[in-house]
């Protein structure tokens, strides 16, 4: 019925085996898919587009002068993960985030890991994301990253690898929730025939995590947004609304007597926990960037005196920096005395002369990233780049080797996806969200991003990526 393109052999496809067979956890779905007339599915896709537009789930693209809002394309073939895979992923992510929080506490206190010689001091302390203001500051429950997004991919060997940790202001969770809502609306029958783990309680878990972050009884929680021009504004408003808390901008708050207040129609109200969706540099013009109009003057001094909780804490960026990433497995061993359950992608650090040589000699088959880059900007994908692009990047690396790391070109697994010619494999990744409060909580799910261009490995929405609903199947046994 559907024009189905098979994956290239040697790649890992989430649904299809090399032999053309269907993996067990996709069998019910595949049977259903083949029973659906293509016109029906096309109509459902159009319906989804219309609904997303009406709800206004859009994002702004940086550097697009028209300032237009665009829809992130939504694909209706779900990414299905069997229970056994999820157990590994979940345990691995809990372990990883626990170690990252321990690392942050350590480097802002005694710095055991540096003294033990596991991580070179200059890697930490001359990192631009390291915040001296956090030194010696004690946080409740020693939690720095209350909300973490861990990007994982499945390689052609069938194993999951962590691509990067996001400990600053990870976004995307609203798409996880809206994609599920959309799928349940479009295809209710699929949820009757599949035991899909629910995700809709995420805002409740998030609110609990934020409330537990404060020692105050019944704390007032707010979401701090840079405003409606920000690309993730929809998500900020969505989460505030789902949690039933105020969505504030910096101008709505002020500092008085070592407390933070917001201006309301009933007078000034004290704020205890700020789920901030703006970067460290913009939080407080008195302490960081003086030209920031987004922050609250004096916020840092209140924070240091314990008068308000910021989630995530200031200075978490030092732990998700690409130059620190290669050390995460060592952190797990050092702080938890455990072996990592999830593997890192092998990484060459250009700052080391021997590894730099290897990188420069193999640029055509490596992915090279800027240490501080994000969003798929400023990276080289060797196998897809022209000779001129590789040469250009080579000069940039030689000029500033400390600024680059390189990794083998991983073959992200693929998942069948609706494209113009029918259904074809497209590469995907996965970002589950880990909440750290008194304990760690997660919903069984995450955001699956899909590179819609044939063969492309770049899944970022700013670079033409789309999203899928992610189904964790509950164990029926």
């Amino acid at each position: 019925m559907h024009a189905l393109t098979l994956p290239e052999s040697g790649h890992y496809d989430e649904m299809l085996l090399d032999s053309g067979g269907i993996r067990p956890h996709y069998r019910d779905f595949a049977r259903w898919l083949h029973s659906q007339p293509p016109e029906t599915l096309a109509r459902k896709r159009a319906e989804a587009d219309l609904m997303f537009h009406r709800v206004g789930i859009t994002f702004a693209v940086y550097g697009d002068d028209s300032g237009a809002e665009r829809l992130i394309p939504f694909d209706t073939v779900p990414r299905i993960i069997p229970a056994s895979d999820w157990q590994t992923l979940e345990a691995g992510m809990r372990q990883r985030v626990t170690a990252l929080n321990a690392f942050l506490h350590d480097i802002y206190h005694e710095q055991h890991i540096v003294k033990a010689g596991l991580i070179p001091a200059e890697q930490v302390f001359s990192n631009s994301q390291y915040q001296p203001a956090m030194q010696g500051l004690d946080l409740p429950h020693r939690i720095y990253a209350h909300i973490t997004g861990v990007d994982v991919i499945r390689h052609s060997d069938g194993n999951f690898y962590v691509l990067e940790d996001n400990l600053r202001v990870p976004s995307g969770v609203s798409y996880m929730l809206e994609n599920r809502k959309m799928m349940m609306r479009l295809f209710p029958e699929l949820f009757a025939s599949h035991a899909v783990a629910p995700v809709q309680h995420y805002p409740t878990l998030l609110l609990n995590t934020l409330r537990h972050a404060s020692a105050v009884d019944n704390p007032t929680v707010v979401v701090l947004t840079p405003g409606h021009h920000n690309s993730a504004y929809f998500e900020h408003a969505f989460l505030a609304q789902q949690m039933g808390v105020e969505l504030v901008e910096g101008q709505d708050m002020f500092v008085k007597n070592n407390r933070v207040y917001m201006r309301t129609t009933a007078g000034h109200k004290q704020v205890d926990v700020i789920y901030r969706r703006i970067d460290d540099a913009f939080l407080d013009p008195l302490a960081f960037r003086g030209d920031s109009m987004l922050g609250v003057p004096g916020l840092l001094s209140v924070y240091r005196a314990g008068g308000v909780i910021l989630a995530n804490a200031i200075g978490t960026g030092v732990a998700d920096d690409k130059s620190i990433y290669p050390y995460v497995p060592d952190m797990i061993r050092f702080y938890l005395s455990e072996e990592p359950l999830l593997q890192n992608v092998p990484t060459w650090m250009c700052r080391r002369p021997a590894e730099l040589d290897h990188v420069l000699n193999n640029l055509h088959e490596l992915v090279v990233k800027e240490v501080h880059g994000a969003g798929g900007y400023g990276m080289l994908i060797g196998p897809a780049a022209s000779a001129a692009e590789i040469e250009d990047f080579r000069q940039r690396i030689i000029a500033d080797p400390n600024n680059y790391i390189a990794q083998p070109t991983l073959c992200l697994s693929s998942c069948p996806t609706f494209v113009e010619s029918g259904i074809a494999p497209r590469h995907i990744d996965l970002r589950p969200f880990v909440l750290s409060g008194r304990d760690i909580s997660m919903v069984a799910g995450g955001l699956t991003r899909v590179a819609l261009k044939e063969g492309s490995l770049v899944v970022n929405s700013s670079q033409g990526g789309g999203t899928k609903d992610t189904w964790i199947l509950e164990d029926q046994s």
């Binding site: 206004g56 409606h228 105020e246 504030v248 201006r263 309301t264 129609t265």
Partner: protein
């Protein structure tokens, strides 16, 4: 309790929507009057402009004040911040910033209005149809608001914006017409058209005949539009709503605003048209406008800025 900024955006969202509607009403009537011969009170488009405070800006752009130019200036000219399309744009921008506080249906209504208005500006839609369309979209937005939003502070600030703007706009309209009519003791034939136009622009023509069953006289029109509580665009009706809304807002702030609204409400409840006319309609309306502006400042200070 809500953020002052949010309250301010809700308030201005509905003020701009109401302003767009009143502009459409004003221009619609001016447009039909301009079709009448001069002796019947027609043509003076600059009077309409004067009510909006945009006369000087328009003269700077179109020194001849030709009717077609003025109409374009007041409807689609993006360079005029006070034109209808810009009012719809500001209403939509405020709604966008508080999308989480209004219902999806409200957002869709206000967003579709702006998108369509912008399109009409590009296509050059005939004006008469355009004015009716603006009124309809304003009715639709108000109806959607009444029919979908929770009765909380957000609703109060939205309504407050509507009636503050309407009180201001109605007073300006009467003020200009009364100025045109002048102080002659006897109503002339030309005045008949002017008062009729004023009633029509405020949707009160039918109410007049229902209530008075008599010919148009300046005294009765003034009474109807200033003091009658049962005519929804009269000054009294607006002040009734404002005085009722302010005490309903939760919290212990806004004493000055509440006191001013209550005072104004008492003055109007026990006001008499003869004493207003003795002092002069223009004097009364000028004073009313300044009271409304003071009240607006008090509302801003207490709720919308809360510095």
């Amino acid at each position: 309790m809500m953020l002052s900024r949010t309250a301010s955006q809700l308030y201005w969202m509905s003020r701009y929507m109401e302003r767009a509607e009143n502009l459409a009403r004003l221009l619609d009537v001016t447009h039909s009057l301009s079709l009448l011969p001069q002796s019947r009170g027609g043509a003076d488009i600059s009077a309409a402009l004067a009510t909006t405070g945009a006369l000087e800006a328009c003269r700077a752009r179109h020194p001849q004040l030709a009717a077609g130019d003025v109409m374009h200036f007041m409807t689609f000219d993006a360079a005029n911040p006070a034109c209808i399309v810009n009012c719809l744009k500001y209403a939509r921008e405020n709604a966008h910033a508080v999308r989480g506080k209004i219902t999806g249906e409200m957002w869709e209504s206000i967003n579709a209005t702006w998108l369509e208005a912008r399109q009409m500006g590009l296509e050059g839609r005939p004006l008469a149809g355009f004015f009716d369309w603006v009124k309809e979209r304003s009715h639709l937005f108000r109806g959607t608001t009444y029919g979908t939003i929770q009765r909380n502070d957000a609703f109060s600030f939205i309504r407050l914006g509507t009636f503050m703007e309407r009180a201001d706009n109605t007073a300006r309209l009467i003020n200009v017409k009364s100025h045109l009519v002048g102080n002659a003791a006897e109503d002339s034939a030309a005045d008949f058209y002017l008062w009729g136009a004023l009633l029509r622009s405020l949707g009160a023509f039918e109410a007049y005949h229902e209530l008075y069953r008599d010919t148009l006289s300046s005294r009765r029109v003034a009474e109807l539009l200033i003091l009658r509580p049962d005519v929804p665009r009269s000054l009294r009706a607006c002040v009734d709503e404002i005085a009722e809304l302010l005490p309903r807002i939760k919290g212990d702030t806004g004493h000055r605003a509440k006191r001013q609204a209550a005072t104004l409400h008492a003055e109007m409840s026990y006001g008499q048209i003869d004493s207003i006319l003795d002092d002069g309609l223009h004097t009364y309306l000028t004073q009313f406008l300044s009271q409304i502006h003071d009240l607006g400042d008090a509302i801003h200070g207490a709720y919308l800025e809360a510095a």
